[in-house]
Symmetry: C2
Subunit: 98 residues, 2 copies
């Protein structure tokens, strides 16, 4: 069964454009290098434009675990995006109907 | 720009199978009747199996508004699913990177 990760990022004030630029690069790398990532979407809250919701779907748990070990996850998300966040909440779901 | 609605449902204890059955029917109806609904996914929390996250993407705001007026939204979600919920939290996002 496919597995879904949601990640809600609250970006530090004044850094949203920088984070969006990094996430555009990240999305391109995921699409190129991770065929078992079946959805990777970045959404921006209408209520608070400094809040982003990443919706990520993987073919299975192994693909999600592999994602976290990729060079682009380490160099873009961990090294550059996370320091620009005030908050980061992650949740895991089984994709039960699609 | 595409628009995303997330809906987090907390299902009353003992009713999850009934709600999932209704949402399977709903998903089929959305796919048949709403070509401007570009994603309609139901996900079940690993942390709390009575929590569902619906991730819905529409081509534009008009398509989201039209969704809420469909016969299947009224007869399945409003009339049958909502009475089986203890909680329902909805958020709106712009789909900025996909």
């Amino acid at each position: 069964m496919a597995i879904v990760l949601t990640a809600k990022y609250t970006v530090k004030p004044g850094h949203i454009d920088e984070v969006l630029g990094l996430l555009r690069d990240m999305t391109a790398q995921v699409k190129t290098a991770e065929p078992c990532c079946t959805l990777y979407r970045v959404n921006r809250s209408r209520e608070n434009p400094d809040v982003l919701l990443l919706f990520e779907e993987y073919a299975d748990e192994a693909a999600l675990n592999a994602h976290r070990e990729t060079p682009h996850f380490k160099s873009i998300i961990e090294a550059q995006v996370v320091p620009l966040l005030d908050g980061r909440e992650r949740s895991i779901y089984d994709a039960v109907i699609s």
